[in-house]
């Protein structure tokens, strides 16, 4: 039994279907990336796992089905969600943004906050600053930090590098790798930045207009000529 199993997942916004029978597994302690262009269904996939989109099929965390449960319950079961950084609370201090994340894991607030501060010291230095005044990279830190405040065992990160400079991307990659190796956190990210995803993940899935097109290790995907043509233009 895989840590996270996604079986024939289809997701709907009203009558529009944006995911079609998507299936893949994430093993415990792994970093998995789902790559795809705008509108491929990456965010919908994340929203489905966290229970914010109507869906059919099965999503299982350590065997327990998540479909049909509310987000609050899913977060309590150990899924932490770092949405795109536009989804922060803009007119609120960094600290308060993090504390909203700590709502479900009350007993761990002190420890989690210390951990987030250790990972991202800048969030401690600017604890009282409004997030609307932060740079893109700092906001991404707040988003990941807020998700870590929920004491997750599975961390979902939606497009962590969108619009960020290569240097900041490298830093974020290093942090995610550290969370994975030191804390044993299982991580699922979505990305448009293929190189970022390939360098970080042990397994990569390619999503195209709601269909899972191809899956494999980064090496296998690199060897796929058709894929290279489509995504790297070589």
């Amino acid at each position: 039994m895989a840590f996270l199993e996604i079986d024939n997942l289809s997701a709907f916004y009203g009558r529009a279907q944006s995911l079609h029978d998507v299936s893949f597994d994430v093993a415990q302690g792994e970093i998995v990336a789902v790559i795809g262009t705008n509108g491929a269904g990456k965010s919908t996939l994340m929203d489905s796992i966290i229970g914010m989109v109507k869906n059919t099929g099965a999503i299982r965390l350590e065997g327990a089905d998540l479909v049909g449960r509310g987000s609050a319950e899913i977060v309590r079961m150990g899924v932490g969600y770092a949405p795109e950084r536009a989804h922060l609370f803009p007119f609120m201090a960094i600290e308060d943004n993090l504390l909203v994340g700590g709502y479900t894991a009350r007993d761990d607030i002190g420890r989690n906050l210390a951990h987030v501060h250790e990972l991202f010291p800048v969030l401690k230095e600017r604890a009282t600053q409004e997030t609307s005044t932060l740079s893109g990279g700092e906001r991404q830190m707040v988003s990941v930090g807020r998700a870590l405040m929920t004491s997750p065992r599975l961390l979902l990160v939606d497009e962590p590098t969108i619009g960020l400079s290569p240097k900041v991307c490298t830093e974020i990659a290093a942090t995610l790798r550290r969370l994975n190796q030191e804390d044993g956190l299982t991580i699922l990210i979505t990305e448009q930045n293929i190189n970022f995803a390939m360098s970080l993940a042990t397994h990569v899935h390619v999503l195209e207009t709601g269909h899972l097109r191809v899956s494999g290790t980064p090496e296998e995907l690199m060897a796929d000529d058709e894929l290279n043509k489509a995504y790297f233009g070589t």
């Binding site: 929203d47 977060v75 969600y81 922060l88 909203v100």
Partner: protein
């Protein structure tokens, strides 16, 4: 929303500021005694205090969560009518009729809450407006023997005599509600409510039950509206559909909260006092002293057929809001920060 400090800490400095603010207001009747201010000014302050209660209530429900209510008088009116009917028609003592009125208002608050489960934004605002219009019509035709129909109910027991006593009562209510709400909003609960106003989906994605949180905000907002409405009815001594279920009252409440500073507690209070006095000064002086001093106002008054003061009121509100959308409280905060910066 202007609250950018760590939400879970209550410092003694803050309590001291509250004590100075409310203590200062408590001295006003003394000033009236030595003729520094007029007795009538005290009456204006009483209205400002009740408006502040309504504005705080609106702010808990709308200013924080972003579910803008245009029908807040619905809740206030339910509170006022319930205690009015119980007191006048059934001879219930205000000691019991007021708490019952608060409970009934909270029940009515769940009616408000139902649409908030499915819709938000302008649709929610319109539905709340519909609530208010609906009850305005219903209260006049259903059981007029109880509601008094279009004329309302007069002879509601007054709790206090004299401007000073009524002022202390309204100030006590306003102060108690302000401090309770303030303490509540400084907990993580308050932070979560503000977060809903900024991005409800993200709150949900962080594992918080937004439905429960919203229900809580609506219940607290309704309870405060009920307390304010019930005591206001006992202050006025009457309730009437025109005076309560009125779009003007809804807008005055909203403008108070926004102008003072939505998402704070002190903001709506300052907004309510500012607005009450602005309207009062314009009402008393607009067509006399002010128009004499500025002929252009005289022209305006003639052009707008005696309603010129509302033009000025709107203009003042607009200018402040455009200059600082976070309200008067933010203007004051920045000013203080600048003074502190200059000293350092």
């Amino acid at each position: 929303m202007a609250n950018t400090t760590n939400g879970s800490v209550i410092k003694w400095q803050h309590l001291l500021l509250w004590a100075i603010f409310l203590g200062g207001l408590a001295l006003l009747p003394e000033l009236a005694d030595i003729k520094w201010i007029k007795r009538g000014t005290l009456r204006t302050f009483i209205f400002a205090n009740y408006l502040a209660i309504f504005a705080m209530s609106w702010d808990v429900l709308s200013g924080r969560t972003g579910y803008i209510s245009f029908g807040h008088p619905f809740l206030i009116g339910i509170g006022a009518y319930t205690t009015g009917i119980l007191n006048v028609r059934f001879g219930v003592d205000p000691m019991f009729s007021i708490p019952i009125a608060v409970l009934v208002t909270m029940a009515a608050g769940t009616l408000f809450f139902l649409p908030a489960l499915r819709i938000s934004g302008s649709y929610f605002a319109l539905i709340t407006l519909a609530f208010m219009e609906l009850i305005y019509q219903l209260v006049q035709v259903i059981r007029p023997d109880l509601t008094g129909g279009t004329r309302g109910i007069s002879g509601v027991d007054t709790l206090m005599r004299g401007a000073a006593n009524n002022y202390y009562l309204s100030l006590g209510l306003m102060g108690t509600i302000a401090i309770l709400l303030w303490a509540m909003m400084r907990t993580r609960l308050g932070t979560a409510l503000s977060a809903i106003g900024m991005n409800e989906e993200a709150v949900e994605g962080s594992g918080l039950n937004t439905t429960k949180l919203k229900l809580f905000a609506f219940m607290v907002g309704a309870a405060v509206a009920g307390v304010g409405g019930a005591f206001f009815a006992h202050y006025l001594g009457y309730v009437s559909p025109r005076g309560l279920f009125e779009i003007t009252l809804a807008f005055t409440i909203i403008v108070s909260a926004l102008l003072g500073g939505a998402g704070t507690i002190i903001g709506p209070i300052i907004g309510a006092i500012f607005l009450t006095f602005l309207l009062e000064i314009l009402r008393v002086k607009f067509s006399t002293e002010l128009t004499d001093a500025w002929p252009v106002l005289d022209w305006l008054e003639t052009a707008l057929k005696g309603q010129g003061r509302f033009f000025i009121y709107g203009l003042v509100a607009l200018v402040i809001y455009m200059y600082q959308p976070k309200g008067i409280i933010e203007i004051v905060n920045r000013l203080l920060a600048r003074i502190r910066g200059a000293k350092a």
